[in-house]
Symmetry: C3
Subunit: 271 residues, 3 copies
Amino acid sequence: MNSELVTRVRAARPIIHSITNYVTANDCANILLACGASPIMSDDPAEAEDIASLAAAVVLNLGTLSDRKLDAMLTAGKTANSLCRPVVLDPVGAGASRRRTEAAKTLLSRVKFSAVRGNVSEIRALSGELSPSGGVDAVEADLRTGDLPHAALARRFSEAYGTVTVLSGQTDIVTDGKRTALLHNGDVMMSRVTGTGCELTSLVAAFLAAGDDAFDGALTAAAVMGLSGEIAARRLTPADGSGTYRAYIIDAVYNMTPETLENGARYEIIT
Amino acid sequence: MNSELVTRVRAARPIIHSITNYVTANDCANILLACGASPIMSDDPAEAEDIASLAAAVVLNLGTLSDRKLDAMLTAGKTANSLCRPVVLDPVGAGASRRRTEAAKTLLSRVKFSAVRGNVSEIRALSGELSPSGGVDAVEADLRTGDLPHAALARRFSEAYGTVTVLSGQTDIVTDGKRTALLHNGDVMMSRVTGTGCELTSLVAAFLAAGDDAFDGALTAAAVMGLSGEIAARRLTPADGSGTYRAYIIDAVYNMTPETLENGARYEIIT
Amino acid sequence: MNSELVTRVRAARPIIHSITNYVTANDCANILLACGASPIMSDDPAEAEDIASLAAAVVLNLGTLSDRKLDAMLTAGKTANSLCRPVVLDPVGAGASRRRTEAAKTLLSRVKFSAVRGNVSEIRALSGELSPSGGVDAVEADLRTGDLPHAALARRFSEAYGTVTVLSGQTDIVTDGKRTALLHNGDVMMSRVTGTGCELTSLVAAFLAAGDDAFDGALTAAAVMGLSGEIAARRLTPADGSGTYRAYIIDAVYNMTPETLENGARYEIIT
């Protein structure tokens, strides 16, 4: 982790081109602003190249997908690839429909991603054929319990696609296939607010844009998000719930400092 | 009303497939999470069948309508019908344009709805030709004053379409054509926040997914929403307004218990 | 400025047809409700004429643009023009892509706008060929420093298009080409929340719908927005950030009175 990235994002104000879903687009824009980045949300194929060319990083999020958005994603992803700028994938709902699974696979085959962030179902759905032991059963076995099988899944995914993987769960796994971190920050209430996964994906893009090492950037972003979820939870009164919590998460990102992050991050590098 | 449904939704965590508008999609996802349900927002015709097949209930909301969404709605609605799972319609803006009125009528003719939730203008717009006295005037007469004419309108709507009707207003009417309840919960400030109607529609779907009786489920959902609006209003300080109120409504749903609901619900069964 | 417009908007409850982006549509709907207006968000070309005909004013906002939305904008704009009702443009992202710049120019050439609200980059991008000295350099020179060059840019824009221009920045400029005001309300934190520009555009439409003088209406709306940003900032505790601030801005609009506005507005008419 590199807590100084918190400061660097604010100094660099990286433009993040986000092609994302309309359910959490507002949260994603606000968390990008809160961390010091500058969001441009656009899903129009007719401007995907122009906007991606302006951006320091690109986020492709498969929520509320359409053919039109998928076109824009391919163009934006390839544009950023040609400019050697980070592209981050959030395969929302991969595995929930053939359409989403296939769209994610299309993107993975045609765009080079610096990082992919998803939950275990999504990463598993995109890993089926990648299992070294050649079958779904092996992958299923991986998922039976706990962090280490998840870490193995994430590592294989990273190796297969040459990307950093951020596998969100009770413990977040961050790996580039060689280095692997288990991150213990976060609060169970984060799963009761829509968009916390999408928001983390946005932060990953901002932190990758501001640093040189994708593993470090992704781990730092995940620590910022998880710690912000904890800080937000501690502020809640008995009458508060997920509505207030949603705003407090963004508040905590807004107020995050390298010191707070250094003191609050709880992770271990396991490989 | 069945206050135990509050607990049952949390236990069942029903997946709610929502094809909805982008203005309030975030609120709808968050209120579904707050009540214990699990939202999937997707409006893509290419995955409507897959997603609807996963879902315990489907919500079709006509806000920010497009041809593409309407296609997805027809597919999702028919899929849920074939699986005998509840489908709930929110005919947002019916009557405001011919396009919305016709789209709502198309859906009503091709999908079987367990519940329809709208305001008096919307239900009226979809009831024109159903008036027993054969004209718009009769319906207009119904609307002149108060709860009983609204209840008659809702009852006729329920009879015509074989659905539970939730007619939102100062008094909410819930009816299945036979049983009719007047619900007196709610706060006038709810009309100053966008999406409180859409949010109720989402809650209706969650409560229908968790119970057996659509009338009871819809009445319970309406009581939860109205009471949450009251609880939220009581928390406001003089500096607070509709921005804070919006979050507090979701907080109240998040904290709702069967006891709170039992003590706070104010309704009467009139038939 | 006309602080009585605050009361008039609440009395008239003007319907505002908004064709807008999905990132900030919820904020725009909520700020319209907060000021007393009644939003209808619809971007469907098939109902653009019907909805625009119902509306007291129309907002066209270019965020998350699509061909489909642009079609709806042209229809809604022309409909409102034919009914002599105000149309307000927010050229979000003009200059950031050729697509947005061209879309904004198309709208400016085919729809008569009562007001255009944008930041200096957007207004500049739409003013390139309008510079009296005939080149980009002259415009660049305008932008080098401070309020007076911005005011000159805005004034030329107003003259070219026969519209009120609201140029948002540290100082907001409001001009109809003849009268020009510098508005000193606002808080730097407004730039850390997505949608504050879009929200101001929405308020401009509401205030234009409720009054007779577009310059006065736009100036009043800008004062309401800037002062609300200040009031919201004063409420923040150290743990609060941009998440809470977002809601407090809407709270402040909700609670705005003519007296508060009269006491808090800080502007000067410079021509």
